[in-house]
Each structure stands twice: as structure tokens, then as C-alpha cells.
Symmetry: C2
């Protein structure tokens, strides 16, 4: 039995007339008679009563037609669902990202994405750069956003593109001695208690800073000490109440409150680039849609992405 038989039976039930049903189906009347007869033979049951006043389904026909309608509805739903999935209108996209991506990049890109693809289930999870790379390679994420291009085993299976650059800024409370300064020198930071983001791999932000400041010792041992805070608002909050000097990417400015001051660090210190990665062999249309939007919203990303994708 083929779905053709279902369509024919439904047309016949609708028109109650072999000739008109056949015309509606775009075939001649004899083939319709034959196909209905073949269907009835296969089922071992008469589906239609041919009376002088028209063709009417039997009890078996009614039972059959009810199921046939649902079967055909499922089939057309299969077509449309497949199409929507192929166009990336439905599906799932799992993002792993570091907290600072939440400050500028993600609000812009995700806002557009959610408006364009309301039926895509988004999975968002803040995590370290290292963890996101691992999860991406394990297939647990579709996109990873971190600082610095992924390194290590499997990194060659990923495509990465720079989506943002930041330099280091200092955040202090309004009462802090630095508060009036537009710039803070590295020299001035020596010996200050610092508030920075933690890291789960070497070199940590703290040790990297220690080296930058010309302090040789391990971070916890350095003069002034270090506090690690996971997210931007905690760094700013701690800085505002005078715990120490917050250090982070320039995008911290968007989260700054009135009671803190953000100072440029002089000389300017570039942070590792904000990098978006995905699996090179991932052909998901949802991913493609996300990349499209990233292209639109992040000037300069487009060309870099094309160059990378060209080699896929």
C-alpha cells in the first residue's frame, strides 16, 4: 500500500463520485477505479458502497479514512518540518561563552537571532574558554566564545574567528586615589590589591598580570594580593566598595555603575582576542544562520569568516 491509495480514497470520499474524484486528482476515471479496487483487495474489505445516489464509505471505509487523513497530515508535516529544519528555522543551538561575551557581543547577536528564529531552542551556558573548547569538540556545544584561539588536541577540527578586541582597563571606586585619573600606569598598579577574572588553566590572569607588572612572584604571593571574581558585576561591585583595583576588558565599561570610575591602563595592554569557534564539519543550518547574524552585527567578521570557511 502506498500513500497514493490514501489520497485516492480520500478524494473519492470527498467527491462521492469516481469521475469527479479522478478529475480532482488529475487522472482518468478507470485508474481510480482500479486503484480503489486494488486497495480493497489488499485490505480484504470493501471500503466504499457504490450506490445509485453516490459512492459512500462503509464502516471499514470510515475507519480507514480517519487514519488515512492523519497519515497524510503527518507526511506533509514531515515535509514542512524537514524544510524548516533545513532552513535553520527550527532546531537547537548550544553556546558556551565567557562572561565578558555577555557585555557587548551576545546581547546584540542573540537579540537578532531570537527575533529571526524564535523556534530555535537556545542553550546558553557561561564557562571558561578551556571548558568551552572541550565541550565543543565533544559535541556538547555548537559554538564556543572565549579569549584566544583554541589550542591543543582537536583544535584543527575547529574554525575560529575573531569577533572582538579589548584592551585592559582598571575599575576603581569613586573614593579611590585613582578615581580622578583618566589613565593608570602599570607602575601605579604594582602593590595594589587586584580584582580579576579567574582562569582554569595556566597562565592564569593573575600570573599573567604579575608578569606584566614586572612582579616575579606567584600571584597569591604578590604584594597587595589578588581577588578572583567570576563575572563583571562582581568585579565592579568589589571595586566600588574599595576592595581593590578591578582589572578587565574595556567592555567592562558597559556594566560600569555611577559609583565607579574606569581608567585606561597606560601603556595600552591588549587582551587576547574574543574568539568564536565551531566545528569545521558542522553543516547545521542553525549554526549557519547564527554565523550570518554574527557577520551582519560584527563589522570585519565577514571577511575573516569567509576566508576560514572557504577551506572547509
Amino acid at each position: 500500500m502506498e500513500s497514493r491509495h490514501l489520497r485516492y480514497a480520500l478524494a473519492l470520499a470527498e467527491h462521492q463520485h469516481f469521475g469527479r474524484a479522478a478529475a480532482a486528482l488529475g487522472i482518468a476515471q478507470p485508474p481510480l477505479s482500479q486503484q480503489i479496487a486494488a486497495l480493497e483487495r489488499e485490505l480484504g474489505a470493501r471500503l466504499f458502497d457504490r450506490t445509485a445516489r453516490g459512492v459512500f464509505p462503509t464502516a471499514a471505509g470510515e475507519a480507514f479514512l480517519a487514519r488515512a487523513r492523519r497519515a497524510l497530515a503527518e507526511m506533509s508535516a514531515a515535509v514542512s518540518d524537514a524544510g524548516r529544519a533545513a532552513r535553520g528555522e527550527t532546531g537547537r543551538l548550544r553556546l558556551g561563552f565567557i562572561g565578558s561575551a555577555l557585555l557587548e557581543l551576545l546581547p546584540s547577536v542573540l537579540g537578532t537571532f531570537i527575533r529571526d528564529r524564535p523556534e530555535v531552542r537556545l542553550g546558553l551556558q557561561e564557562m571558561s574558554t578551556r571548558r568551552s573548547t572541550t565541550a565543543l569538540l565533544a559535541g556538547e556545544l555548537d559554538i564556543a566564545i572565549g579569549r584566544g584561539a583554541p589550542r591543543g588536541a582537536g583544535a584543527e577540527d575547529l574554525v575560529s574567528v575573531t569577533v572582538g578586541r579589548d584592551h585592559l582597563v582598571a575599575v576603581v571606586g569613586a573614593a579611590h586615589p585613582f578615581a580622578g585619573q583618566a589613565k593608570v600606569s602599570l607602575e601605579q598598579l604594582k602593590g595594589q590589591h587586584l580584582i580579576v577574572a579567574p582562569a582554569d588553566e595556566e597562565p592564569t590572569v593573575a600570573t599573567w598580570l604579575a608578569g606584566l607588572l614586572g612582579e616575579g612572584a606567584d600571584a597569591p604571593e604578590r604584594a597587595g594580593g589578588v581577588t578572583e571574581a567570576w563575572d563583571a558585576h562582581t568585579i565592579i561591585g568589589l571595586a566600588s566598595c574599595g576592595v581593590g583595583v578591578g582589572l578587565g576588558p574595556a567592555c567592562l565599561r558597559v556594566a560600569a555603575r555611577p559609583d565607579v570610575r574606569v581608567c585606561e591602563v597606560s601603556p595600552r595592554v591588549e587582551l587576547p582576542e574574543l574568539v568564536m569557534s565551531f566545528r569545521a564539519q558542522d553543516r547545521s543550518p542553525v549554526l549557519a544562520a547564527f554565523l550570518d547574524i554574527t557577520r551582519e552585527r560584527c563589522p570585519g567578521v565577514a571577511q575573516r569568516l569567509e576566508r576560514r570557511l572557504g577551506t572547509r
Copy 2:
């Protein structure tokens, strides 16, 4: 798109291998490749990723396969539902019957029918012979059981068969003068208050009895008077408390209580036969099943039914 495409796609998803899926489908590998390719072309979407480690559905493929499974399940359900309906295992049977059919005939036949066809919805309604005939012709009933063969317009479209014969018996309370008698003569009934079943057409039971007893006047006017009671238990109940002499079919005996006596009426008076009717053109398998059971349970019905059905 035909259901073949769904079957092929599901087989391919299951085996993750064109060759093995084709073997499972009983076809060669090239036709499977072609059909999948044609399906993907029609949908405008790739459904399977052909990798070195196997064939795996894409996101669109997953969406498609989920619907395809349900569509095929509906199709096989259509086949089985149609078969069961055709065999009379499901469906509906609406019976209209007079109360006395509940005493002997229906308990026996319905008991077997419900055991054999638990999924058939039964519609049972007590009604007069006249009403059941009307409802049967109007298509509101499938079977009518009454006394006497249906008459009037449309009766020739019905098949009727005698399913029981009864003669008249009298029911009296234990304290009644007739209680000790095995027989009651028609002469003795004259002037007694009678309790009989009502009727919605002429002649009513009461007028028929009046004629039988040689009483010329209308029933309500006759000496002794008449009480009409719809069902057997009411007739018996009224007789038991001395209201009068209950008159009804011999099958009343099965409903008799210890405090009443049932007397034969002498000479024996035959009542109109208990007749089962159905539409001659009704080919419902549920009806056929019911007739089969009636045949088994009612000796003598079989031959009469065959004779009637032979002419359909």
C-alpha cells in the same frame, strides 16, 4: 512523495548503511540510493550525512524521520482498523426492542455478543414495536425487536425473522382467587381488572383483549377496568399486591416473584410473534455478527433467516 520514501528513509536511518538497509528492504543498493536522492531533491534538503563511519540523519533528517514514523504508524493502523471494522470487531450496533425481549431473548444473545465483540459500541433502547420500525427505516436503529412483523410504508425494505413465540398467561397475587388454579379461562377474566402493556397504535392490547373476551366496549369502559404498565416487573408488582390480573407473554414467568402465581390462559391464546428486523440493504459486518449469534442461540431461526437472506 510516496510512503515508500518514508520506509526507505527509516530503514536507512536504522541501519546507517545503504547496503544493509537495502538488503533489509529486499532491494538492491542502487535503487535505495536513487530513492533517497529523489526524496532529498524533492524536499530540497539533505536528510543524511554520508560519512566514512556510516550514514547519519541531519537535523532535517531527524525532523523528517520523526514524522515519517508516525505517518507509517497511522498507515498500518488504517489497515488494521479497516480490517477490524470489516470483520465487525469494532463499530456500533443500535437496538430498539420491546420490554419483553429483555426477559429471555436479549440476555442470552447480548451476553454472547458482548463477550465476542467487546469493542463494538452497543446502543440499547426500549421502545414500542411501531417506534422501532420507524427508527429502523430512518437509519436510527440497526435492529428492531417487536411483536408482529413490521407493516406499513417501507416494510418491504426490511428483513424480519421470528425469534420467539409466546402465548398469553395471567399473573395474580398469591391471595387472589385464581392463585390456586393452574388455568384461567377467558370467561373468568371477564369483569376482572386487567393489568396489561400499553401500545402506541391500534389495536391496543386492551382493545384486543376486550375483543378476545367478547366484551364489546372500549377498554377503559369495560367492566373491571384496565391498568397499563410499561414493563414486566411493574405488571407483576401490581398483580402481586392485588390490583388486578396481569396479562402478558409466557416469558413473564422468568420475572415472576415468589408472591405471585402465573396461570395458563385457557384456551391458549397465541400472541404476535417476537420479530427481529433489520434493513435488507444493511451489509454491516457488526449486524452480520449479531445475526450469527442470534442464529446460534435461537433454534429454528437459522433456517428462516437463510431463506430471507437468500433473496437479498
